[in-house]
Symmetry: C2
Subunit: 289 residues, 2 copies
């Protein structure tokens, strides 16, 4: 099974458990809406790519970690789109969860997706419970306080914001979790993989800022101009378009250079360069390819 | 250290981690508001009591499980009080989290508390990672879909509701998790403990319904008449006050009878009877004591 199919299968298994007999049907539908159809599944793909590069001795745990990361990412999108945050009516080109199912079910769906993420990892524990606990800690750090996604979103309520810290928490944390959890699931030292994830997360944020600023709504499937409208920090506002593109190129180069020696290092380098082309808005692909 | 002090210490440790250097201060304050000062800490006390009754070979994991249950309970209260649910301005006699910190931070605080719960269990894993994974699964089942708290709250959005299933998910699930996680953390068979938790959870729900219907706002520290106002199922509406009190007494008796043979069974039976007196609204204490 290729990595994309493994990710969809792991997500489908988690959703089927959540929709099991006796589940309230409307909430079950809201959960599914939050996860399928997905976006690029960028984070779980990165996790599986790192696990594969490290030799992948425990694909069951890697699959569970990948599903957990994506479920947590989806949960953050469901909550981020709600009226008390971005009040976004669309996501991935479709109506957002609260727009279809209402605020109450969107709130619960996000909560249930967070729980399903940790449940998925625990279910994959039997082969190596200590590694599963280590993956859990990596993932929890990426989404919880003080430095995970929730912290990143929390910075939006502060008046004095460190832009780097904000992006590191809101976007970078899940990328660091993807690379380090991939290593941990494979029994490898996660240390060297932090820099790889951090650079890729920063690159992804710059690409997202470019898409937001350039108004490529069709590309990113959600409303544009949100950062300006919500007065949030944005790399394009700070560096200009060409400065942001240069920054994106530099970050991808640093990520590739930071990949530590491992059985599949060469393949992973090529994969990251390939992904870099997908990160940039389509109108800029030529310049970052 | 007595059980109450152990619970507060475990919660304080989890909160201190979440408030660590670099945390957004307002969200950190919202998290703390959601957890301290607490209510009766009924669920973590029950977990520690069962772990102690089973001989408590792993107090670190029991403490972590207890903290996790309470963090998840607090998260559900923070989200349940929000405008899209109960729109409750008070909780435990104080302003609710969203009333003080706003909806955005209340939403994030609940999310971060859910994450902190699973992180607490994973941090206690080293001594017995397999037992930690088992506790994680018990806890996840109690809060996630299809049968945990989120499912229970999800039933409030359905038109056709099975009252028993609703209460079992919304209130009973965390009590079942308290007794079974206490057993699992102690390496005991969780099977017989399900019935104990289920009966205690049902008793707690009846007591809550009595408090809501009788308007003892000072006793429960939150707005009364909420079930009637939100057209939610309520045991008093179904059975009348004296019928509900009889049901409460019967459930406590069944819970005590269901306690399986274990080193501390006698002490646990006395503790449950003592707790039963606390469950009922003060005006009814004499009749259920």
């Amino acid at each position: 099974m290729d990595q994309g199919a493994r990710i969809e299968a792991a997500l489908e298994a988690a959703l089927r458990r959540a929709e099991g007999p006796g589940a309230p049907p409307k909430l079950a539908a809201a959960l599914r809406h939050g996860v399928f159809p997905g976006g690029g599944r960028v984070r779980p793909r990165l996790l599986l790519a790192v696990s594969a590069a490290c030799g992948e001795p425990n694909p069951t745990l890697a699959d569970a970690g990948a599903a957990a990361l994506e479920l947590l990412h989806c949960a953050s999108l469901v909550h981020d789109d709600m009226p008390c945050f971005d009040d976004a009516a669309t996501r991935r080109g479709l109506p957002s969860v609260h727009a279809v199912h209402g605020e109450a079910l969107a709130l619960l769906a996000g909560d249930a997706l967070i729980v399903a993420a940790f449940e998925a990892i625990a279910r994959a524990a039997p082969a190596d419970p200590a590694a599963a606990a280590a993956v859990t800690l990596v993932v929890a750090r990426a989404v919880g306080m003080p430095h995970g996604i929730t912290a990143g979103q929390g910075w939006e309520s502060e008046t004095a914001v460190d832009v780097e810290a904000y992006h590191r928490a809101k976007t970078g944390a899940l990328f660091v979790a993807a690379t380090t959890a991939g290593a941990v699931a494979a029994g490898a030292d996660p240390g060297p993989w932090r820099a790889v994830g951090a650079r890729l997360g920063a690159a992804y944020q710059v690409a997202d800022d470019l898409a937001d600023a350039l108004g490529a709504e069709g590309d990113i499937g959600k409303p544009c101009g949100q950062d300006g409208a919500h007065a949030r920090p944005n790399a394009v506002a700070a560096l200009g378009v060409s400065g942001a593109v240069s920054r994106l190129e530099a970050l991808i180069g640093e990520a590739v250079a930071a990949i530590p020696p491992c059985p599949g290092a060469g393949e992973l380098r090529e994969l990251v360069k390939l992904q870099a082309r997908r990160l940039a808005p389509k109108s800029l692909v030529a310049s970052v390819a």
